[in-house]
């Protein structure tokens, strides 16, 4: 089905599309949807694609735009200590870490207080707030705001095509309430090996995120998780930011560990200008 022109015009004018309009766009043919998302993206954020090189703390960390902690220790005291230790080894790069949902699930008490402690230990930002794992995202983000710590992206833990429109509507409301939320990562963090999301699913999710969220400038794809091919194609469906480009260039670790040359080559080949960025904090 081709795109309803009235809906397309409203998207071009940066108007807030209704849930019914987003549902209708989701049924449009994939190329028409991609073209519209690409047009809207170019009008909103131009033809630059930003990317961040993410490393682990320790040797070589200084090259990374961001050093990221992923596994969350069991106790708050251990986490505070681990953050302080990682901060000391960042080589000057910003330190980010963790999923907001994981921190809440630990049940360490008053969330804003916990986040303040992590910030004081040196954590510059929480990596993500997976909307489908937060029972009260507004309260959780309010706690972040109260603690003075940012969340780098609104994300999605599990694939859920049926729940996509409500999630986008929720993301739009949250971005209006918390203007420091500037990035959405619409592709799920978890994939089933037996039944992964399809290419169509992924680029449709990216395009709809771009069209649904006029107030969120960055639509992000995880370069390491999704691989250069899908990530590159996603750029032409409205994405403008690549997260988690590996800082190392060690090909023996597998074909998805990609060098700086490869990420810039993929961005240019998709018709965009690459720009390396530092951490969002």
């Amino acid at each position: 089905m081709s795109i309803n022109t009235a809906i397309a015009d409203r998207a071009r004018a940066n108007e807030a599309l209704t849930a019914a309009e987003l549902d209708e766009l989701a049924t449009a043919d994939i190329l028409s949807l991609g073209m519209l998302a690409d047009e809207v993206r170019r009008a909103r954020v131009g033809d630059v694609v930003t990317f961040v090189r993410v490393g682990a703390s320790g040797a070589g960390a200084g090259e990374a735009g961001e050093v990221r902690m992923t596994s969350l220790p069991e106790t708050l005291a251990a986490t505070v200590a681990a953050v302080a230790q990682a901060k000391a080894a960042t080589g000057g790069s910003a330190l980010s870490g963790f999923s907001l949902a994981d921190i809440i699930d630990r049940g360490w008490g008053d969330l804003a207080g916990v986040l303040k402690q992590l910030k004081q230990a040196g954590l510059g930002a929480i990596v993500e707030a997976p909307l489908d794992r937060l029972s009260n995202p507004e309260a959780a983000l309010q706690a972040c705001q109260d603690a003075g710590i940012t969340v780098q992206s609104l994300s999605l833990q599990k694939p859920n095509a049926e729940g996509r429109t409500p999630m986008l509507m929720q993301a739009r409301a949250l971005a209006a309430r918390f203007p420091w939320l500037t990035t959405i990562a619409p592709l799920p963090r978890e994939q089933s090996i037996a039944v992964p999301t399809t290419g169509y699913d992924d680029v449709r999710a990216v395009a709809l995120a771009r069209l649904a969220l006029p107030g969120v400038p960055n639509v992000q794809v995880d370069w390491t998780q999704y691989g250069p091919k899908l990530a590159q194609v996603a750029l032409t469906f409205g994405a403008n930011d690549l997260d988690r480009v590996s800082v190392t260039d060690d090909e023996t670790l597998g074909r998805r560990r990609t060098s700086l040359e490869d990420v810039t080559r993929n961005i240019v080949a998709a018709g965009f200008q690459p720009r390396e960025r530092s951490a969002r904090a």
Partner: protein
Amino acid sequence: MDLKAFEQRIESGSRLNVDEALQLYRHAPTYWLGRMADGVRRRKHPAGVVTYIIDRNVNYTNVCVARCNFCAFYREVGHSEGYVLGFDEIYQKIEETKALGGGQLLLQGGHNPDLPLAWYEDLFRGVKARFPDFKLHALSPPEVLHISRMSKLPVPEVIQRLIASGLDSVPGGGAEILVDRVRKLLNCYAKASADEWLGVMRDAHQAGLRTTATMMYGTVETDEERLEHMLRLRDLQDHTGGFTAFITWSYQPEHTERGGREATGIEYLRTLAIARLVLDNFDNLQASWVTQGGKVGQLSLAFGANDMGSVMIEENVVRAAGAVYCMDEVEIVRNAEDAGFAAKRRNMHYEILGDPFFRAHHVPRTLELSTAREAGDTSEPVELVNYPARSAAGKRQRSQPPASPVA
């Protein structure tokens, strides 16, 4: 560039010349190319069907004297990792393929100097004696040429003898880029020049066989040379009409002598789309999910492809060069249907065989493709002693008594 004028010409079925194709390939927006290619695909396949084949991709030997510098699969004659599959191993693979609903082997291998024509004839006859309806889509043009050179028989005679033994169709491998400048740089000119590759295909078509055609891009060729490749195929297809399908994929550089970087996903989709526009006399274009992954493989269906290729079951060549994607029948069908198509099984002639096999039979899921053999198994099949070896290493090996099995 007047895209509107191109649009009208493509929609009216006018043929693109090389300059026009080059202009579009280099400068047309990716979405425009996709829409045009998708339009041509719709006109050729209006029923909204995406086809696929259940067959097994078997590489009967990895021993090869050609030494193409883009290849990570081959082993030199006498190499400790060199292997030749035994007839019984191949029959076993056919049994397994049939159990998964397959009806064909895609059988290709290295240019092994120690396998004479009689070995191929005996193998094919053995397959047909045991599995009369099972199809052999076997021996790409450079392999046919290799057998012709080894046996000192002209290509048409080799083809006739192979047909008489059971050959059903010829895969379009070994084409790389059909331009001799490129072939020399890739060290694959000696195995088959562009004219020789096309000549074998002409002979095969004249002998009544249908074949596929391929293109591996992303090494040293220019855009012009990619299009020259397509135009040479288009010319032959005008004369013989023998090609059933075109399959393109990007060079996989890992573990190869040539090295370098793989072309990007967007480049693949653009190449596929321009092929759909240029190859107006080819009905079928396959998606190369084995090199691009399932996701970009599925997106190929919006850029001109109408076929998801093969379930494969087994893969050795692309895996050796670093790509490890797997799609079983369930995944291929799910991807085709998710893209809005009806998924149908086909044979090599693109005749529809029916609905997905797994829907009517219990078939276990396959999340990883098999390999020719277990890693490290280089055991020598017993029947090889019946065939004279040409190489010194082969002669030495065949003069030794077979190793007794370990108790």
